[in-house]
Symmetry: C2
Subunit: 197 residues, 2 copies
């Protein structure tokens, strides 16, 4: 891996850990295993380095799409939710850092956030579910898609900070969310799997 790449990765790592102010050029250089001056030779200034490091697609992961044609809604949505959840957990500190620095450094936030794409993906899939005859219930994908992803998001963030609020295991919670969601959009599954209290 070349030096430039090493520096960029180190910058993202350090930024996620300690934010903009905490990400000193010294610390980034150390993390990258290069001399501090090399940062300046490559990127000119700390601002430019961090901007370049964060605004490239580090926040956008490779997330497998929902199938073009829904076949087994529960399995498909569950797998998709799991991927998203895992990714959010992994990106947690970077996302928190970005949110916290947002007002001071708006330019470092990538314009097209991955969440937006995921919302659209889910909305499309929901439309297909209906046109595919999986459900006849009335619901608004523009409401329920962000709602579902929002629940995943705050679970991924919150579980770390206030574990006491999350009684169930990750996996059981994910299944619970998916099942409750599917029921809401009119896709009932065989009885006995929606756990009672």
């Amino acid at each position: 891996m070349d030096v430039r790449e090493k520096i960029l990765r180190a910058a993202v790592t350090v930024f996620a850990e300690v934010g903009f102010r905490g990400a000193t050029t010294r610390r980034i250089a150390q993390e990258a295993g290069v001399n501090e001056i090399t940062l300046f030779r490559h990127f000119g200034s700390k601002d430019k380095l961090l901007h370049e490091a964060i605004s490239r697609q580090d926040l956008a992961p490779v997330i497998p799409a929902l199938p073009e044609v829904p076949a087994r809604p529960r399995a498909e949505l569950l797998a998709w939710a799991r991927e998203h959840y895992d990714h959010m957990v992994q990106m947690r500190s970077l996302m928190c850092a970005c949110m916290a620095e947002m007002t001071e450094h708006p330019e470092i936030i990538p314009d097209s956030t991955p969440t937006r794409k995921s919302v659209i993906q889910l909305q499309d899939w929901l439309h297909k579910l209906r046109s595919g005859g999986f459900t006849t219930v009335t619901f608004d994908p523009e409401i329920v898609a962000p709602m579902f992803l929002g629940a995943l998001f705050s679970d991924a963030l919150g579980r770390v900070f206030t574990p006491s609020s999350y009684a169930k295991s990750q996996e059981k919670t994910l299944e619970g969310y998916v099942d409750f969601f599917l029921r809401g959009i009119g896709i009932e599954k065989h009885a006995g799997t929606l756990r009672a209290s």
Copy 2:
């Protein structure tokens, strides 16, 4: 308002805006309208000041409880959700700052987060709904309560960062969340209010 109180409030404000490192003693003093030295005379060090400022109950708002005995589920939940939502929007930057600083300064986070209390509140209310005969549907309050609050939470946070992901207005979204949630726990309302896409 006495000086001590002014300083504590200023500290929280500045911290929410610029985080721990950004909250310099100079800036806090300026925000509080006092001399920088006064901070040290009162609190000894920046660390102690910020710790005291944030760990007291500034994160815990006064949120009206759900009624002891549910009567009109939709109205009650909607009002409760609105209060929570507004409060989260108001507390957004402070929450983001706390989340971002969590790993570096774990001691500043209040032990009993208000979210936890809200989750319990909602769970209790859900139990009462069932025992009160409002629903006979099977669901797990330990799953759906955090799910609902999680959706509110990330909407309150996300709407600011990626407004494009949130097509509907705040109010319509809140109603949408509440109605979808109520349907999921088996409380249907008169037709025509669940908006279609």
